[in-house]
């Protein structure tokens, strides 16, 4: 008992000294750096192992080239500007489809989730059915309807990005406590106030979960749809490399696409977390 007490006291004193010199952010920073370094060791080891295995003939280096060659091929492609050109086209298409989906689906989700509940009940199974349609199977249908080109790609991205946005917005508006709406209404809030002060803030975390998923899906699908039929973009560039049997650059583009999707993932996870934290703190204040 006495021992336990002294430990807690010690811990408290330690915490106080830390606070006094304001060391907490610095320590947190070092912890973060440490964990990032610790995590990257495995990745570096993996690439080193691959390099060694490929150069010493453990792996067939004609089909699995060493990472140094892969990076070199990637660097020449970046220098000639080709990779950046195709990346910009892909990102442009994905961004337009994504923005279009966000502009249309989030308001739709609000309408369905709040004011037209019976209509939503009737419509939801149908929408779920459409969501389940395999996007790869739909590529030819989109090509028939829109032709091959920017319009078709944007339509595909719109189609795949709208479902997570729509369903997460509906789920977000559903997660509002009915008591809050009742309380606001009893205090004389009209529909406009109700929407902007109660429904919107409570639904925002759900929406941003949808935004994150939609961003990941749209980047993935733009590459896939460009592989299915296109004459520009990262997916087409990759496919043309594989057809001309430029193996190191193939691996390079895969690496590039993966790093890009990791970056997108991290960015939107940060965004989502930002809004989640905001929700939690607001709840604590309540």
């Amino acid at each position: 008992m006495i021992k336990q007490y002294s430990y807690t006291k010690l811990a408290r004193e330690n915490g106080e000294t830390l606070k006094k010199f304001n060391m907490v952010p610095i320590i947190n920073f070092f912890k973060k750096v440490n964990s990032v370094l610790y995590g990257s060791i495995a990745i570096i080891l993996f690439f080193l192992l691959w390099e060694v295995a490929s150069t010493y003939g453990l792996l067939p280096s004609s089909v699995i080239p060493p990472p140094t060659k892969v990076i070199a091929a990637l660097a020449t492609s970046v220098k000639s500007g080709e990779l950046i050109y195709h990346m910009r086209i892909s990102l442009f298409r994905a961004l337009w489809g994504f923005l279009l989906a966000a502009v249309i689906s989030i308001p739709m989700g609000f309408l369905l989730g709040t004011f037209f509940k019976t209509f939503e009940k009737a419509l939801l199974p149908f929408l779920r059915m459409l969501e389940k349609l395999n996007p790869f199977a739909l590529f030819p249908v989109f090509m028939i309807l829109f032709g091959i080109g920017n319009l078709e790609k944007i339509a595909i991205i719109f189609w795949v990005a709208q479902w997570p946005l729509l369903f997460n917005t509906i789920a977000g508006t559903r997660s509002i406590e009915p008591n809050m709406i009742k309380a606001a209404r009893s205090m004389g809030a009209n529909k406009k106030v109700l929407f902007f002060k109660v429904i919107l803030p409570a639904a925002v975390p759900g929406i941003f979960t949808g935004v994150k998923i939609a961003a990941q899906v749209s980047f993935f699908m733009i590459v896939a749809s460009e592989m299915a039929g296109s004459s520009q973009g990262l997916g087409w560039y990759y496919l043309s490399c594989s057809q001309s049997y430029h193996v190191p650059l193939m691996y390079g583009i895969i690496l590039f696409i993966t790093v890009l999707s990791v970056i997108i993932n991290l960015l939107f996870t940060r965004l989502e977390k930002h809004f989640l934290v905001w929700k939690e703190t607001s709840f604590q204040h309540n």
């Binding site: 610790y38 199974p125 059915m129 790869f136 030819p140 249908v141 590459v223 896939a224 696409i257 999707s261």
Partner: protein
Amino acid sequence: MRKLLLKINDRFISLYIIIAFFILWEIAPKIGWADPNFVPPFSRIVAEAKKLTFFQLFIEASVSLKRIFIGFTAASLIALPVGFVLGGAFPKLEKFLKSLLKFLSQIPPFILFPVFVVVFGIGEKGIYTVIFWSAFWPVMFTTVAGVQSVDPLLIKSARSMGANNITIFFKVIIPGALSSIFTGMKTGMTMSFMMLIGTETLGADSGLGWLIHNSQSMGFIPRIYLAVILIAVIGLAVNYTIQWLEENIITWKEAGHDKAI
């Protein structure tokens, strides 16, 4: 009587919209709202199915299902032990490898297909590897998470009652992790079915994705729609099968919760 009718109406309210959609699909090309060459009426798609014969469609579907089955089973057979070992036996190794595994899992499986073709040659192997790759990561990550989410108190109490490691594994860890594993399997199955269609359109000589690719390059537009519907139906059937399995295998969780409450 009126109540009953209202109840039936309530139950089938979602069906109305689906039926209305199909009716619209049938009518729209006929009255000129859509080009019948590009959007053929629904009846023509049914006619196309009859023309292709049920047998042919069954063969294509069974080829695809066989590929899914082999790839998915192989992925589960490897991912489950790896997940159990990483999550249960070597948590430090798991922490060390986590970023690498996350990085590898971020590689879109679909774009790996040409690489697999280069490495393994043209044929079934590339398709199996893509399905393996897309099913492996969700199953493994959820297995690790499931094993780590097992309450340590349960393990300790089982041990204090004299259970050895094998009993703990089969009686405590597996039941505790199973619902999480099933979530991963469902994700893996959805992913691998999606990727299967994608890879079959890229390079295959049979299967549902090939049916789409073939009819696209031959210009059989009704057949494309037919294949889309067929793929959707089979995808739903596969999903429901896994859900049914989950509900019938995991019966203890909810019962346990009820008792606890």
